[in-house]
Amino acid sequence: MTAELGLAALWLAAALAALQLIAGFLSVRNPTGELAMLVRPAAIVQGGLCAFAFVVLLYLFAVTDLSVKLVASNSHSMKPMIFKLAGAWGNHEGSMLLWITVMAMAGGLIALVERRLPEKTMMATLGAQAFVGLGFYAFLLLSSNPFERLPQPAPEGMGLNPLLQDIGLAFHPPTLYFGYVGLSVAFSFAVGALLTRQVTPDFARAMRPWVLGAWVFLTIGITAGSYWAYYELGWGGWWFWDPVENASLMPWLAATALLHSASVLAARDALRAWTIMLGVIAFSMSMVGTFLVRSGILTSVHAFAVDPERGSFILILLTLYIGGALALFAVRAGSVAEGERFSLTSREGALVFNNVMLCAILGVVLMGTLYPLLTEAFDVRVSVGPPYFNPVGAIFTFPMLAVMAVGPLLRWRRDTMARVRTPLIAVAAVIVVVLVLVLVLGGAGILPLLGLAFAAGLAIASFLPLRGRNLRRVPLAVWGMVIAHFGVAVALYGMASETAFTKERLAAVEVGGSTEVGPWTVKLAGVEPVAGPNWTAIEGHLQASYDGGKPIELGPQARTFWAPIQETTESVLATRWNGQLYAVIGNQAEDGRWQLRLWWKPWVTLIWYGGMLVALGGALALVGRVREDLKRRHVRARIAERRREAKA
């Protein structure tokens, strides 16, 4: 009965979305009519209904209701509670329900709070939001119903892929979905503004918190996903240019560009058409990502089930939304009046340059991701990896980093390089010094070398905008920018350092023997079988000492899960302030020695600390902007009140 309630709520929500779509677009011409009165309530109730449906699914997983097909095929009564709940979205149907729930709740939130834009633009925006939503309702209800019952309840669930039984899973997909959905809201705003030709700074201000929020969640999602792959897959790498990783990176790149161009539009009323375009591109990339991951066109841990029907469904949605939006853009872009002008040497100029660089990187990643699909059509099998992505991406990344150091120092509208000469020379000096130091101290490839130098330069440059200001009066949004830019430098330093200085050691060690990697000496003290709630394992007892210091106990495992039967490698990490020791235990050789794979990765943790700093910067900017908006709204309300009093 419970499952049917969830399904009924979803159908009702879909019906409300249809109502919102029709009423929204009909009310664009007449935003005060009776139909228009329906639009906002429809959006709000829809959000509530979806939230209810999602809670129902969580409940079904919590009690392991094995008469529901999704629960039976993805859960198991013996699983720990947190993984039972996480299992609700650790599969195709559940994750689509999560997507649509977040989307409907976002729609409800805009309907509830957004009052800045002209009402007709709001009607068009909410109509567009319903249009996007309706496609996903159709997808969910027609081809992937999460509440489907089995004719006979299953005796026991089939379990969840052990690779996914990890606390990271509980948060990784939802964070990415918040990001994707935030971009869908930006898309709806862009379509709404384009339809009513109201591409104004107010539009940018209304859209910006959503882009910022989406961007923060995407940043966290990518950072967490990278760390998850790093310790869970046991390969010691933090980025593989896997299509699935690219699928999350591409929306991030587009959102980064959109975020900055929206700031220009909000502050200076320039880059109108460009911002709209980026809004469309950013959401397109979310859809492309979903398509790549969910269609089964690419094989990966993330492709839950290969089902051509689903692939074509998402492809149809993709074509419909993107094609429609691009066609609308082509028709309307010409009639969007040109914004304010600016000279090339100005903050706008720097932002435009970096926007173009971000789009170029996006294009490079997109082409590399799609190329294997393209050649497959001609029956040639290729895969594209780091030898392509790293150098080609770097060609655009380093100029972008350079301009990123300068841009925030420039004034809006018009500036000269002479005015910012002193700080620039200082930053350039730092870059050169680090370059020389690394060259002298030891070999590193060209890219890590440049990475280390630019990271140092950018780290200093990121704080220069605070120079000569009263720190207590610096707005929160500026702090956000400074911290986010600094975070990029920190992450870059971690990546370059890991690439340049990692030491790897693969050895067959007998019990009692030891081996060395970098400054570490690792002794294999023993090997023992251990057991967990749903697995058994072989655990190695390692005693690792850094530079002859006090040894640390480490226990890497080779685990065997029994529901479903699968083996995984559980790596262990010893974290120091200056890096991580990464250890994996392998098979026992015939002569009784055990395979150990060890890495010493100096400063590798900075990659994820940097990512978190970027996200923190975004969050600060978001809070700062929302506070400003609230203040502005308050002031406007008071002015209106005074006027009324004056009239009376």
């Binding site: 082409m367 290729v382 693969l506």
Partner: protein, 152 residues
């Protein structure tokens, strides 16, 4: 000059952006032709071997009885075959994937050495019933079809 510049600023911006993006596209296309990592079946690798040192992928079945561990304890040698019984010797230094067994499918990433031995940097085996490298999956289907043909 200034007036002209002002009037055409939008156009100039569009042209600059287009040039940069088309440049990126061309560069990417050129790099892809050179850097893409081609997939070989053993028969293809025997018939038309890739250049020594070019990174490629080799997919096939691990031949029964061919798996040996070298004296250093961490390097393994085995042969990869396909249904045409072409055979490529492979050497891999590292920890074997969890489901790597003789008679099962494998995709090896690496390069052909000068001595005709394929040096694998990474091995992709069947991970579990849900995650199978795409090439392996198709290979399994081909084999099943072959088995069906033989039985009838």
């Amino acid at each position: 000059m200034n007036a002209l510049k002002a009037k055409h600023q939008r156009l100039i911006l569009i042209v600059i952006a287009l040039v940069a993006l088309v440049g990126a596209g061309l560069l990417a296309a050129w790099a892809l032709r050179n850097q893409a990592n081609y997939f070989y079946l053993p028969a293809q690798m025997v018939a038309a071997p890739p250049e020594v040192g070019q990174s490629v992928r080799l997919g096939g079945m691990v031949e029964e009885g061919s798996l040996t561990t070298l004296p250093d304890g961490v390097t393994v040698a085995f042969s990869v075959t396909d249904k045409d019984s072409a055979r490529v010797p492979v050497r891999f230094t590292g920890i074997l994937p969890d489901l790597f067994v003789e008679g099962s499918g494998v995709v090896a990433e690496g390069e052909l050495g000068p001595d005709g031995v394929f040096i694998a940097h990474n091995l992709l085996a069947k991970h579990d019933e849900n995650y199978v490298p795409r090439e392996l999956q198709e290979m399994d289907q081909h084999q099943q079809a072959a088995v069906v043909e033989e039985t009838y």
